[in-house]
């Protein structure tokens, strides 16, 4: 099952790309011209797969191994498509270069070729700027989203380029699929049609700049397991967040389907959410994530940094652990130690759970001393959740101790 899940996205990408090349493979042309055309279709197939991988649907995420995995492949497919599409016009121009340099330049120049090439060039420029927003610019999230939306327009313009060239098959079905995926994402995910209505029950401060918010379902509740996260938008008449869905890890799942999320003030929007009041309407979309799913019955090491405690807390609140578990909870200062008393009480009542909580200050934690008494780590399954720097340092440390990458589990929760 795991192998099938791991292969699902590569198979999807290969099917889209190879299928399209096979359908539209040109015959009787020079090698360079054939390659130029194949590069264009390969880029087109990759972009189509990339559009499918940006959809936020729970059933799709389950099929494809989780939302984070989908996003990683979405980035890979999009960037690879961009590189192939850059090469596409260059190889076509190179094909005619030996016969006529003028014709080679006219192959690239939109001033020589009119609207079909203008559409292709604009498409490439939109892809270029959209990806620059991801890879280069340090810009606010809202502006990044707008530029990233331009990537979708770029994909459509690329397909318009093909239609204007007079190629109707297989372009029109692809254009239909691309419009469907973009519309699906916009209406169901960004406008919230796929989300369910909840209402804020209570808001409780649990540490400095961290509140725990209880959400009560107003209709069919979302199915959630500990370790998963939901996308939440606050939409009350007197309170409105930043107008978009934010990912929050669920900190508890009640018997009456009430859920709790913990919100740390990490930016303007999450700071604003700290002041939300009971009875505010909320839209909840999810749940997503496979972070703590399918844990084997082997000894485990959990390491949480700061707000990264939440998925582990949700699991412990759901019941005692089934495996010998060493739990390392790191926080900056005592005032940042959210849920520490509750965690200590849970650890005292659970024979298999060993909790070590530590304030690390502003210095990077020294994992050599923290993990020195944990023998035989090579046989542990390790689950990490915290700031990216901490997770990266810990992965390196664990690797040096003989822990293989397959034994190290973490989620980036990065939606850019």
């Amino acid at each position: 099952m795991t192998i099938l899940r791991n292969l699902s996205i590569p198979l999807l990408i290969v099917t889209c790309t190879v299928g399209l090349i096979w359908w539209a493979f040109p015959e009787g042309l020079s090698t360079a011209r054939t390659m130029g055309i194949v590069l264009g279709w390969a880029g087109c197939g990759l972009l189509l797969a990339s559009l499918l991988l940006m959809l936020r649907e729970t059933w799709l995420a389950q099929w494809l191994g989780g939302l984070e995995r989908m996003y990683q492949w979405h980035h890979w497919a999009g960037t690879t498509a961009y590189v192939l599409l850059l090469a596409h016009p260059l190889v076509l121009a190179a094909d005619v270069w030996p016969n006529s340099r003028l014709l080679a330049w006219q192959t690239l120049s939109p001033f020589s070729q009119g609207w079909p090439i203008w559409a292709g060039l604009l498409s490439l420029l939109l892809l270029m700027f959209g990806l620059a927003a991801t890879f280069i610019m340090r810009i606010p999230y809202q502006i990044w989203r707008m530029l990233h939306f331009g990537l979708g327009v770029g994909v459509l313009l690329g397909l318009v380029h093909l239609v204007l060239l007079g190629i109707s098959e297989p372009v029109l079905p692809i254009l239909g699929l691309a419009v469907s995926f973009l519309g699906w994402r916009l209406i169901r995910d960004d406008f919230g049609l796929a989300a369910r209505p909840y209402v804020v029950g209570s808001v409780k401060p649990v540490a400095e700049d961290i509140v725990e918010i209880t959400l009560k379902p107003l209709a069919d509740p979302t199915a959630i397991t500990p370790g998963q996260f939901v996308l939440v938008a606050f939409l009350g008449p007197t309170f409105r967040d930043c107008g978009e869905f934010h990912p929050f890890t669920v900190s508890s799942i009640g018997a009456n389907h009430e859920i709790c999320i913990a919100v740390k003030a990490l930016g303007d929007c999450t700071r604003h959410i700290q002041s939300v009041e009971p009875d505010t309407m909320v839209r909840v979309h999810g749940a997503f994530g496979t972070f703590l799913a399918d844990r084997p019955p082997t000894p485990q090491l959990w390491v949480a940094g700061g707000i990264g405690i939440i998925p582990f807390l949700a699991l412990l609140r759901a019941g005692p652990v089934n495996q010998p578990t060493t739990f390392l909870y790191l926080y900056r200062t005592e005032v940042d130690a959210a849920f520490l008393q509750e965690l200590r009480a849970l650890a005292n009542g659970d024979q298999q759970l060993s909790l070590k909580a530590l304030a690390t200050g502003d210095e990077a934690p020294d994992f050599n001393s923290l993990l020195s008494d944990t023998q035989g780590l090579a046989h542990y399954e390790c689950y990490l959740c915290g700031p990216p720097g901490m997770v990266a340092a810990l992965r390196k440390d664990l690797h040096n101790r003989g822990v293989t990458p397959h034994q190290i589990h973490f989620e980036k929760f990065d939606f850019r």
């Binding site: 590189v83 003028l102 014709l103 070729q113």
Partner: protein
């Protein structure tokens, strides 16, 4: 991924600039390569070349042998094939959808010119 994006973008613009520069410094042979084919081809002769592997088309008074170009045409072959052996100026000027071909296409067409269409004697 970031490195791949940056290097691919840089190489793309360097090569585009190279193609543009290459078009400014044309080799002498290309400058004088204006094809001067003055062979007169009658409409009857034109009408004999209707097969995909032997496709002549008349556009704006000239006759072009498009046999080798047919596979390279971006649209489906059945768009162009019906015009083999015929006068196709109107179709070329409008692409049957009211849109003219580009100057690039005009430039490309020169390569395939084989003569001038003679007017039919009454």
């Amino acid at each position: 991924m970031r490195r791949l994006y940056l290097s691919a973008t840089l190489i793309f613009w360097v090569l585009v600039t190279a193609f543009w520069a290459g078009s400014l410094w044309l080799p002498p042979a290309e400058k004088i390569a204006a094809i001067a084919v003055d062979k007169l081809i009658s409409p009857t002769e034109l009408a004999k070349h209707t097969a995909p592997e032997n496709c002549w088309v008349s556009i704006r008074g000239n006759v072009y042998d498009l046999s080798t170009y047919l596979p390279e045409h971006p649209s489906r072959p059945d768009i162009l094939l019906p015009w083999c052996g015929k006068e196709a100026t109107e179709a070329y000027n409008t692409k049957t959808k009211g849109r003219p071909h580009s100057s690039y296409a005009d430039e490309l067409l020169v390569k395939y010119r084989i003569g001038i269409l003679a007017s039919e004697k009454p």
